[in-house]
C-alpha cells in the first residue's frame, strides 16, 4: 500500500515538471544528440550532409596543428579565471555581508555586471581597451602615466590577460553572492563564542568562517569552471580568438573550424570533446556534493 502511493505521487508530479522536462529535452538533450550525430557525419562546406564519416572527424581534429596550443590555453584560461574569481570574491562577499549604511547600493552595484549581457559587457571592454579611442589610454595619459597610447590588445599574451581580466570581472558577482549565501549560514553563537574566547578577526576568519564556507566555495568553483570553460562571447567580441589562433579556447576554436575552415563535422567533434569535458566536471560536482551531504 505504501509502495503504491509512493508510485502514484511520483507520477502525479508529472504535470508540474512536464514543462521543465520538455524544455530540457528540446533545448539540451536534442541539440546534444544532434551535435554527437554530426560529429560522426561528413558535412560539406555548405552545410549539406554527405553521409557517415566514422571517426574521421576526430582523426582530423587530433591532427589539427592549432589544437595543442589551444588546449593548453584553455586549461590556463579555466584555472586562472576561476582561481582569481574566487580569491577576489572572498573579500567582496565579506564587504557585502558587513553592516554599514548604503550596503544595499553596494550589493546592487556588484550585481550589475552579472545582469548585463556578456556581449554588451565585452563590447564595452573592447572599447575601453581600444588603442585609438579607448578611455583607458585617455585616463592613463591624463594622469601622465603614459606618454603615448598603448594598444592593450596587440600583444597576444597581453590581450589574453585582458580577456581573463574581463572574464574574472563578469564572474565575481555570481561567485560573491554564492559565498555571501554561505556567510549567512555561519551561526552567530559560534562567532560570539570565539569573540568571547579572544580570537583575533583573522583567526576567526581562518578557523571558523572559512571552513564553514567550503560547501559554497565548492559550488561556486564548479559552476564557474563550467561557465568559464564554455565562455564564448568575451573572447569572440574582444579578439575573435585572433590574431591567428593565438587567443582561442576550445569553444571559439570549434566555431572557427565550422565557419572559417568550413568543416562542420570536425567542429562537431571538437564540440563533442568539449561536452565530454563538461560531463566530467559535472560528474565530479555530483559526486562531491553527495560526499558533502553524507559528511
Amino acid at each position: 500500500m505504501a509502495q503504491r502511493s509512493a508510485n502514484k505521487s511520483r507520477l502525479g508530479a508529472l504535470p508540474w515538471i512536464a514543462p521543465a522536462l520538455v524544455m530540457i529535452l528540446v533545448f539540451v538533450v536534442w541539440p546534444a544528440f544532434e551535435m554527437l550525430r554530426t560529429s560522426f557525419q561528413e558535412v560539406g562546406s555548405t552545410g549539406a550532409v554527405k553521409g557517415w564519416a566514422g571517426w574521421q572527424n576526430f582523426a582530423t581534429l587530433i591532427k589539427n596543428p592549432d589544437l595543442p596550443n589551444v588546449l593548453i590555453r584553455t586549461f590556463i584560461w579555466v584555472i586562472g579565471v576561476v582561481f582569481f574569481t574566487i580569491i577576489i570574491s572572498l573579500p567582496v562577499a565579506q564587504l557585502l555581508n558587513a553592516k554599514y549604511p548604503g550596503r544595499k547600493v553596494v550589493r546592487w552595484a556588484v550585481i550589475i555586471p552579472w545582469a548585463a549581457s556578456l556581449v554588451m559587457t565585452s563590447t564595452v571592454w573592447k572599447w575601453i581597451l581600444d588603442a585609438y579611442y579607448g578611455v583607458l589610454n585617455e585616463i592613463a595619459m591624463d594622469f601622465h602615466l603614459l606618454k603615448e597610447p598603448i594598444d592593450w590588445l596587440a600583444n597576444t599574451k597581453q590581450s589574453f590577460v585582458w580577456l581573463m581580466v574581463v572574464a574574472v570581472f563578469v564572474s565575481i558577482p555570481f561567485t560573491s553572492f554564492v559565498i555571501l549565501a554561505g556567510l549567512s549560514t555561519v551561526p552567530h553563537d559560534i562567532m560570539e563564542a570565539s569573540k568571547v574566547d579572544g580570537a583575533s578577526p583573522w583567526q576567526n576568519y581562518r578557523d571558523i568562517i572559512f571552513p564553514l564556507l567550503r560547501p559554497s566555495l565548492f559550488v561556486a568553483a564548479v559552476i564557474n569552471l563550467i561557465n568559464v570553460f564554455n565562455s564564448f562571447p568575451i573572447i569572440w567580441v574582444i579578439t575573435m580568438g585572433g590574431p591567428g589562433y593565438e587567443t582561442d579556447t576550445t569553444t571559439t576554436l570549434a566555431y572557427k573550424i565550422s565557419f572559417r575552415d568550413q568543416d562542420v563535422g570536425q567542429s562537431a567533434s571538437m564540440a563533442a570533446i568539449n561536452f565530454a569535458i563538461i560531463l566530467v566536471f559535472i560528474a565530479l560536482f555530483v559526486k562531491a556534493s553527495k560526499n558533502q551531504e553524507q559528511s
Binding site: G12, L14, P15, W16, A18, P19, V22, V43, G44, S45, T46, G47, A48, V49, K50, T60, P65, A131, Y132, D151, L153, A154, T239, M240, G242, P243, G244, Y245, E246, K256, S258, F259, R260, D261, Q262, D263, V264
Partner: protein, 411 residues
C-alpha cells in the same frame, strides 16, 4: 476528483506545447512563400521590403520574405540554415561554388529568363561558373584603387603619385617624417576583409591564390609580398598591429578621420566616407602599386544571386529573379547598395557615364578576381582572414599554414 485535475493539467500542458509548435506552420493554401537571405550592402531592408510588396501585388500567389543579414554573419547564417534543413530559396552573397559543387543550386539559365541572362556582362557570368556551367547570377561588382588624402600628400610635399612598391615606400617615409600623427598607409589584415588586401598586394607582384588547377598560396610571389608588407609595418609606415585591424572599423575609420594618408579602397569608398564622418577628406585615387617591373592590377570582386533546389520553387524563383532584374527595379537595387558596378550591360552603359564609376569600369578587363569558381574558396578565404595577419611575424610559416588549409579543404 484529484485524479481528474492531474490528468487535466497534463492534457493542458501537452496541448499548449503542441499548439505552439503547430501554430507557426499553418499557412494559406496554394500560395508560395519564397525565402531569401540577402547581404546588407548599405541599408537594404527597405529596398527588399518595398520590392517584395510590389512583386506580390503583381503575383498574388507568391510572397517573398527577404532577410537582410550583415556581411560578417551571412555565410554562417546560410550555412546554418542549410545544415538544419531550413534552406532558403534565394541567397544574395559573395560566393556560390561550394553550393554548386554539392549540387544544391539551380543553374543560372533556370534562375532567370534568357533575356535577363543575355544582358549580364560576359566577364561576370564567366566568373559564375562551376565546371563550365553558370550556377549563379552576378548581382553587382566592385573594383579597387589606391585612395589617398590629398591634403596630407601636399603637406608632406609629395609631387608624384607612387606606382611601384619602391616609390610607395619612399613616399610613406616622407609622410612619416613630415606629417607627424598620421599613419602613412592603413593596412587592414584583420579578419573582416583580409583576403582583399592580400589579393591586391600579391596581384601587383604576379601572385595569385590559384593557378593552373592548383592552390599556390605559399608561392614565391605571395611570400615576397607579405615580406614587403612586414617591412612596411616594421618601419612603422602603417598603423600598428595590422593583424587586428579590420577594414571598416579600423582602416577606413582612420582614413575618414584624416589619420591615414593611403588606403586600398573599393569603388564604394567615397560614398562610405560621406556617410561615416569622412566627407571633408580631400580624396584622390589612382591605380594600385605594383612590385618593380610588374604590371599594376586591380582586384575585381563580384557578388551573386544563387537559387537553392531544396524547396522546389523553380518557377516562382525565376519570376522573382526576372522581377529584380527589370531595369527600374535593378536601378533601385544598385542605388540602395550604393556606388557599385552594375552586372548588366544595360545598366553598365548608364554607369559608364558616371564620373565616379567610369575609371573603375575601364579597369575591369585587366582585373584579377578571386578563384570563386573553386569549391574550396570559402575555406581558403576563411584561412586567410584568420591567419594572414600573423604573416607579419613570419611570412613563410603563415603562407605554408594557409596553403595546408587550402589543400585540406580541396580534398
Amino acid at each position: 476528483m484529484k485524479k481528474v485535475t492531474r490528468l487535466g493539467a497534463l492534457v493542458a500542458a501537452t496541448g499548449l506545447i503542441a499548439a505552439s509548435v503547430l501554430g507557426t506552420s499553418a499557412k494559406a493554401a496554394d500560395s508560395v512563400e519564397l525565402k531569401m537571405v540577402a547581404a546588407d550592402y548599405a541599408n537594404m531592408q527597405p529596398y527588399w521590403d518595398d520590392l517584395s510588396a510590389k512583386f506580390t501585388k503583381a503575383n498574388p500567389t507568391i510572397k517573398v520574405k527577404v532577410d537582410v543579414v550583415s556581411w560578417e554573419t551571412i555565410d554562417d547564417k546560410v550555412k546554418t540554415l542549410v545544415a538544419t534543413g531550413q534552406t532558403p530559396d534565394v541567397v544574395n552573397k559573395g560566393d556560390y561554388a561550394a553550393a554548386a559543387a554539392e549540387g544544391l543550386l539551380y543553374r543560372a539559365d533556370e534562375m532567370v529568363s534568357k533575356a535577363t541572362l543575355d544582358d549580364i556582362v560576359p566577364t561576370f557570368l564567366n566568373n559564375s561558373k562551376y565546371n563550365n556551367i553558370a550556377y549563379a547570377v552576378p548581382d553587382l561588382a566592385s573594383a579597387r584603387a589606391l585612395f589617398y588624402n590629398k591634403d596630407i600628400l601636399t603637406k608632406a610635399g609629395v609631387k608624384k603619385l607612387p606606382t611601384t612598391w619602391t616609390e610607395l615606400e619612399a613616399v610613406l617615409k616622407q609622410i612619416k617624417a613630415k606629417v607627424p600623427g598620421v599613419y602613412p598607409y592603413a593596412l587592414p589584415l584583420g579578419p573582416e576583409e583580409a583576403q582583399a588586401e592580400f589579393s591586391i598586394w600579391a596581384g601587383g607582384n604576379g601572385g595569385v591564390m590559384f593557378k593552373g588547377g592548383k592552390w599556390v598560396l605559399n608561392s614565391k610571389e605571395n611570400v615576397q609580398t607579405m615580406t614587403f608588407l612586414k617591412k612596411l609595418t616594421d618601419q612603422k609606415l602603417t598603423q600598428p598591429n595590422p593583424a587586428k585591424c579590420d577594414r571598416t572599423a579600423c582602416a577606413q575609420t582612420l582614413f575618414a578621420s584624416g589619420k591615414a594618408a593611403f588606403i586600398n579602397g573599393s569603388v564604394f569608398l567615397p560614398g562610405w566616407l560621406k556617410d561615416n564622418g569622412g566627407a571633408a577628406i580631400n580624396l584622390g585615387s589612382g591605380s594600385f602599386v605594383a612590385a618593380p617591373g610588374k604590371k599594376p592590377v586591380t582586384l575585381g570582386v563580384q557578388d551573386y544571386f544563387t537559387a537553392y533546389k531544396a524547396n522546389g520553387h523553380k518557377a516562382e524563383i525565376a519570376k522573382w529573379m526576372d522581377f529584380i532584374f527589370e531595369p527600374t527595379n535593378y536601378a533601385a537595387f544598385l542605388k540602395a547598395a550604393g556606388g557599385f558596378i552594375p552586372a548588366t550591360k544595360s545598366a553598365g552603359a548608364a554607369a559608364a557615364k558616371d564620373p565616379a564609376l567610369a575609371p573603375f569600369i575601364k579597369l575591369l578587363p585587366s582585373a584579377i578576381f578571386y578563384p570563386g569558381d573553386q569549391a574550396a574558396f570559402p575555406a581558403v578565404k576563411g584561412a586567410i582572414q584568420q591567419q594572414i595577419g600573423t604573416a607579419l611575424v613570419n611570412p613563410q610559416k603563415t603562407m605554408d599554414a594557409i596553403q595546408a588549409k587550402a589543400l585540406a579543404a580541396a580534398k
